[in-house]
């Protein structure tokens, strides 16, 4: 089944792997950037203090009600509610379904420009791929950021609030800068996950690594050899990345103990 002739045949198309590699890396990179921006917004919404019905939760002396429907309504935060719905839906449904919905439904009637990035990546396929992956990883990254924020010692917020900083200022100057540092390793791990998951985009014709495998199979009637090479390429991409992350993780925790 696997033979040196097979590898020779495959190597004639090695440029497709190079193109696929470039595509996978740019897909993952853009996804982690847009996903992170989305996640930041979602996390801030989830932790926002906005309570539009707060006054309904107060009694006539302006004190908080203890219990009951009005008390619950007073605490209700629509921003948190919407962001939570988003996160739960995206985490509870398959990536493939999300990708198809984005590509075949959301972008169905949008005529995207058909130019090619790096000479081979079709923009009208690439963009929906980035969008779907970003929407999905945004949901996961949101939870990473949220737990990072909640891991910051409550004393920090108390000190900030006692100095008169508003909730927003506290987030911006005190909590987020510390949380980001704590969650960088988890974000980098998400990057590794995205590299692997981006392979799903071959189903909508994005010319990433798995697309190269499918094309070479069509041309050479060989599947084993291209798959072995794809495996190697993915491994060489993700393994060093996670090792580098682990290295920085150790270095950073050492800094804390100083």
């Amino acid at each position: 089944m696997i033979s040196s002739e097979g590898f020779q045949a495959t190597f004639r198309y090695i440029s497709m792997f190079v193109e696929g590699l470039v595509c996978t890396v740019s897909l993952s990179f853009l996804t982690v950037i847009f996903g992170f921006m989305l996640a930041l917004v979602l996390a801030v919404l989830r932790l926002s203090p906005w309570q539009p019905f707060k006054r309904l939760g107060l009694d006539k002396n302006g004190h908080l009600r203890e219990e009951g429907f009005l008390s619950a309504l007073g605490r209700f935060n629509p921003l948190n509610f919407l962001a939570t719905c988003y996160v739960e839906v995206f985490r509870a449904t398959p990536m493939l379904v999300q990708l198809f919905i984005i590509y075949y439904i959301v972008f169905a009637d949008v005529s995207l420009p058909t130019f090619k990035l790096f000479g081979s990546i079709r923009f009208d396929r690439f963009l929906p791929g980035v969008v779907a992956l970003s929407l999905n990883s945004g949901a996961y990254l949101c939870e990473i950021i949220r737990s990072g924020i909640q891991s910051i010692d409550g004393g920090q917020t108390e000190a900030a609030r006692s100095l008169g900083l508003t909730q927003t200022q506290n987030m911006r100057f005190i909590v987020l800068p510390q949380a980001i540092k704590n969650i960088l390793p988890a974000i980098a791990n998400e990057f590794v996950t995205i590299i692997k998951e981006s392979s799903i985009c071959y189903t909508i014709g994005v010319k990433e690594i798995m697309f190269a495998v499918a094309s070479i199979k069509g041309a050479t009637y060989r599947i084993g050899e291209p798959l072995i090479i794809a495996t190697l390429v993915y491994f060489c991409l993700t393994f060093p990345t996670s090792k580098i992350i682990a290295h920085f993780e150790r270095k950073m925790s050492r800094g804390d103990k100083r």
Partner: protein, 248 residues
């Protein structure tokens, strides 16, 4: 120094947890005058921290009223941030911002909250740091300081906002014994300068020497209050006598 001018009036303050099962504060009524150095003592779990943290609404009371400079700050419709600026707070565990230098710790609130120009805030911060002997540490990070130094920074960080009252929650409890003195010195200076202070502490020597009023709490209630001489030399309440027998 005390001018009998009421700064904070606490009226029947209650804080319940678990729907009233735990009464952390069970009806506290007390006035704090300008220039007062009020020391709060009492056994563990008596509600001292809860009381202190209620004063600047870090803890939302279940019921009762706190008038600060005549304004009912327990009313949720008031802008708390405006009042909190005027109440400095010092915590047992310092709560310095570890990602900021000492100087940055000190100027953050003046610059962002009070909109003081940065260079003015810096000059003021350096002057305050100098007062507690830490001007040369302005550009280091909190992690590089000893516990006593951290607490001195925490005190001047609060002072940088020019508060009308300073709240201390066991400021020396997390310190190695040899560092307690340097922090108490700073607090003593502050008291002599006329700052209104509410201090929760187990340092009975400090309470006796620096406090002009001592308040004894147990089970969320204020059981006895008076001058240090009243409380330490002529205690009336049995719980207080018990307590003093254990700590003195």
């Amino acid at each position: 120094m005390a001018t009998n001018d009421k700064l904070i009036q606490v009226i029947d303050l209650k804080k319940y947890y678990k729907k009233g099962e735990i009464k952390a504060l069970d009806g506290i009524t007390v006035d704090i005058d300008r220039g007062d150095v009020m020391v709060v003592i009492g056994p563990s779990g008596s509600g001292k921290s809860t009381f202190l943290r209620s004063l600047n609404l870090l803890e939302q009371p279940t019921s009762g009223t706190i008038l600060f400079e005549g304004v009912d700050i327990t009313n949720r419709k008031v802008n708390l941030n405006v009042h909190r600026q005027k109440m400095g707070m010092v915590f047992q565990h310092f709560n310095l911002f570890p990602h900021k230098t000492i100087l940055e710790n000190m100027i953050l609130a003046p610059v962002e909250v009070k909109k003081v120009p940065k260079d003015k805030a810096k000059a003021k911060a350096l002057e305050l740091l100098d007062r507690v002997g830490l001007a040369d540490r302005a550009d280091t990070y909190p992690i590089q300081l000893s516990g006593g130094q951290k607490q001195r920074v925490a005190i001047v960080r609060a002072l940088a906002m020019e508060p009308d009252v300073m709240l201390f929650d066991e400021p020396t409890s997390a310190l190695d014994p040899e560092m307690v003195g340097e922090v108490l010195d700073v607090m003593r200076q502050l008291a002599h300068a006329g700052m209104t202070m509410v201090v929760v502490t187990h340092e009975m020597g400090f309470a006796r020497e620096v406090g002009n009023r001592v308040v004894f709490m147990a089970d969320g209630k204020l059981l006895e209050q008076g001058s240090p001489d009243d409380i330490f030399n002529h205690p009336q309440n049995e719980r207080l006598k018990d307590f003093l027998a254990k700590v003195l």
